[in-house]
Amino acid sequence: MTWRCALVGLLVVLGAGGVQASPVSVYVASQGAGTLVALAPGPSVSASPVVVGRSPAQVAPGPNGLLYLTHPDARQISVFDARRGSLVRTFPVDGQPFGIAVSADGARLFVGDWAGDRVMRLSAETGALEGTVSVGKEPAALVLDRRGRLYVADRESRQVSVVNSLRLERIATIPVGEAPFALALDPTEDRLYVANVRSGTVSVIDTVASRTIATFAIGGMPYGVAVSPDGGLILVTNQQGGTLVVVDATDGMRRATVPVGRYPEGVVIAEASAYVANWFSDSVSVIDMATLRETARIAVPDGPRSLAVARGGDR
């Protein structure tokens, strides 16, 4: 299986050449309702929501069909087993857990502490704190690459921190736009795209040189970003506009502006569709990647923000 579990719920790309016909499920965490719900592949309806605890903010997939959710207001992480369709454990966290990434072997969690300006490394099994590393102010999204480099969007520091996840050392900081919130690596992992909420832009980072090489104008408030499986298109949710903006990865030229629900936030791509969590409208928009048009809108519980793709689930 080439399924990569290293990405946060803001972005999931399915590995090319992966196991065929393995069931893929898109999951949506609703912060207001405190639920996680699975959308069937090519969906028109969703399954029954599962209560996961108060105010889940972000969800990230691990291996073996496990999903990890952060609950900043409850100082808690919950673990959901997609194959069993149920919550398997929760553990307390000392801080305000928000962004989350899972190591490739599923053994470790990297969790941003929103108010503590640090990233914690926890045992995925027990929740035990293994160490911390200081980053910028208000760490939002976290993304882990295959080399074990962790990228952190430091929302109130206008930068991305780059962390050696094994040694828990910050090795670089890269200036980006104002209020970076969401991150997405392209499939080759040589580009990192950063959604900047207040400047209305996407920063393009060269991950080899560790610097910003371009800034794409999006407008409004970009709150989520994903990259197409071929690396050619960048999908950005514009929360103010109620749209999914699609731009060319090479030059930032606009390919489409797709109206979705109100206050769209998280976006993921699974197989031939993109899924957008419409926070205000309590729905998920399904966008066909070939036509860049909305093909379905699925009602979900109150306040959906974050999505994750799990492989190996029952549904």
């Binding site: 105010s55 207001d73 100082r75 928000f98 929103w114 108010a115 208000e138 409004g220 929360q239 205000f280």
Partner: protein, 177 residues
């Protein structure tokens, strides 16, 4: 002495101007007005003109024009000030979106918000929807009661509802309630 404690906690928090909490909240208010959408838009569509129709507003000063990048400084009758920036003005769709630039917990007990106001046809008249996303006044894990999600929801919904009632009264030519 409760008032004294409140004053101290407000002054301590005012330094965290840009702090967004992790849990956004919704505000959504709608009203039906017995007038054509264009007539309603004429009153509500001037971003800086909120003091013409919102009963809680003492005065409003605009700068930068009635377009993206423009702003208004709204002084409330209760004493607080809201510095708001216009992100999008779509007169054809009779809609605009804006955000709070600088929080003032005396005005509204929230640390940040974005909002959209839209006028649309409804039967022979109009429907005005004013909705938004905000974060509570204290974005830490143990907010005091006056800066909690519940306090923010109550204040934002009241402010939006009061405004829409005032707009309706103004457009329909009746005195404000």
């Amino acid at each position: 002495m409760r008032l004294g404690v409140l004053t101290i906690s407000l002054s301590l928090l005012s330094g965290a101007a840009l702090a967004h909490g992790p849990t956004p909240q919704k505000v959504d208010q709608t009203i039906v007005i017995a007038a054509k959408p264009d007539a309603v838009w004429k009153v509500v569509g001037e971003f800086a003109g909120i003091d013409r129709w919102h009963p809680d507003v003492a005065r409003s000063e605009g700068s930068g024009g009635n377009k993206s990048g423009g702003s208004r400084k709204v002084t409330l009758k209760s004493g607080g000030t809201l510095d708001e920036g216009l992100d999008e003005m779509d007169a054809a769709a009779r809609s605009y979106s804006y955000r709070l630039s600088e929080p003032d917990l005396k005005g509204l007990p929230v640390s940040s918000y974005t909002a959209t106001l839209t006028v649309s046809p409804e039967g022979d008249g109009s429907k005005v929807e004013w909705l938004g996303r905000f974060y509570r006044g204290d974005t830490g894990n143990e907010p005091p009661e006056n800066l909690s999600d519940e306090a923010g929801k109550a204040a934002m919904n009241r402010y939006f509802a009061d405004g829409l009632k005032g707009l309706k009264a103004r457009v329909e030519g009746k005195p404000a309630p």
